[in-house]
Amino acid sequence: MIELRGVTKSFGTNHVLRGVDLVIPRGSSMVIIGGSGTGKSVTLKCVLGLVRPDSGTITLNGQDVTKGDRDAFLAQFGMLFQGGALFDSMRVWENVAFRLQRGALKKPKAEAREIAIEKLRRVGLGPQVADLFPAELSGGMQKRVSLARAIAADPQIIFFDEPTTGLDPIMSGVINDLIREIVTEMGATAMTITHDMSSVRAIADNVAMLHGGKVRWTGPVGDMDATTDPYVQQFIHGRAEGPIESLR
């Protein structure tokens, strides 16, 4: 279980998070929605330790994420970055097997390559792409390679940062279905941040909406449409009029 209590973070005079409280039960899929600049990415980076919160606590299974063995902590995570963040100096299979070729999870090269090809197959890519470089792939394929890298070491927790941004609707559907299938079959805890409502409906068990640096609403995805919260209603229906200013 991931638990955030009163997390705040400011960059200079820009108060991005103003007390975020959020609970993500083990094995569930939480999707965080909200407009641009509401602190979704910062929240995710705080959990990973890429950004240090100014105050508040973040715990993973009751343990403070800022204390203890950092490598052991990060070994539980997989992350799909918005732009893929593939290492462009490495071949596709080396990207996928990055964690399996270094550190505590190091495996022999042949075995690491075999696992990478298996993970590529899991995301719908054939072994012929294994020896290509990321720049030789389309955007959708890069996203799938990044997804394969995120799941390569069978993590217990997977984060997805805008998984469908920049993809056509069909490829978005493919990525959404893949994420849902993988999270379910691995039994992993998932945290996704997105603007894409089709992603929310495909991936989420629970939804949280961030606004003004706080969680405005949270609940099961099935309750989202029925909520009377005007902020949620404006966001999920994409209306220009409402309490959320369209010019931010």
């Binding site: 990973l48 890429l50 990060l74 995570f77 992350m79 918005q82 963040a85 290492f87 550190g103 505590a104």
Partner: protein, 259 residues
Amino acid sequence: MSLLSPLAALGRMALGLLASLGRIAIFAGQVVSHLFRPPWYPREFLHALIQIGWFSLPVVGLTALFTGGALALQIYAGGARFSAEAVVPAIVAIGMTRELGPVLGGLMVAARVASSIAAEIGTMKVTEQIDALVTLSTNPLKYLAVPRVLAATLAVPVLVAVGDSIGIMGGWAVGVHRLDFNSAAYLKNTINFLESWDVVSGLIKGAAFGFLVALMGCYHGMNSGRGAQGVGAATKAAVVSASVLIFAANYLLTELFFS
């Protein structure tokens, strides 16, 4: 108020400079401390060694060749004023090994390597590849900076040694073919006058310059701003700071070695 504002601006500039120096010193300390702590990344080190050492050979060699030749012409013309043309071989050899080999070699490596390291790491930063390294349980400083700094510290002295030899050869070629020196006498003069400390001090300078060049490339790359403009600014800062630090370190080392 308006009278004091230039002073305040000067103070802000001085404080900013000191803060930057402090950050660079902390970064250098971290890099050095990680040199001695596992895990190490031998593949990245070898890759950096080839990129920094092998691929810089042509540019360092050509610079040294033309510098050695020009130096021979200058010393000959200058020496002729007091009938000391015979010192050409000795001055070319000492000038190349003590000063021009390491400084010009270091500057060429700064132009070629500091810029490429800063641009590569800066691009990795803006495309979240450095964040990805962290989530893959890899310390970016250890994985990106340590192999490059170590490779440059070891490779630049070798480049300087090659540059010294080519520079002296350039001086010899000009001396023999343009200034009518006897080939054997030129070489004998070079060998007789050159002391091992002349060469060794230049190689130590080379190691220091290599360290500074890679350090500046990595530091500015990892602190790059957002977007193409941020990477461009980081690249420029890396080359400028590496070049200035080479000149400053050259003066300090010369003072230390020869005063």
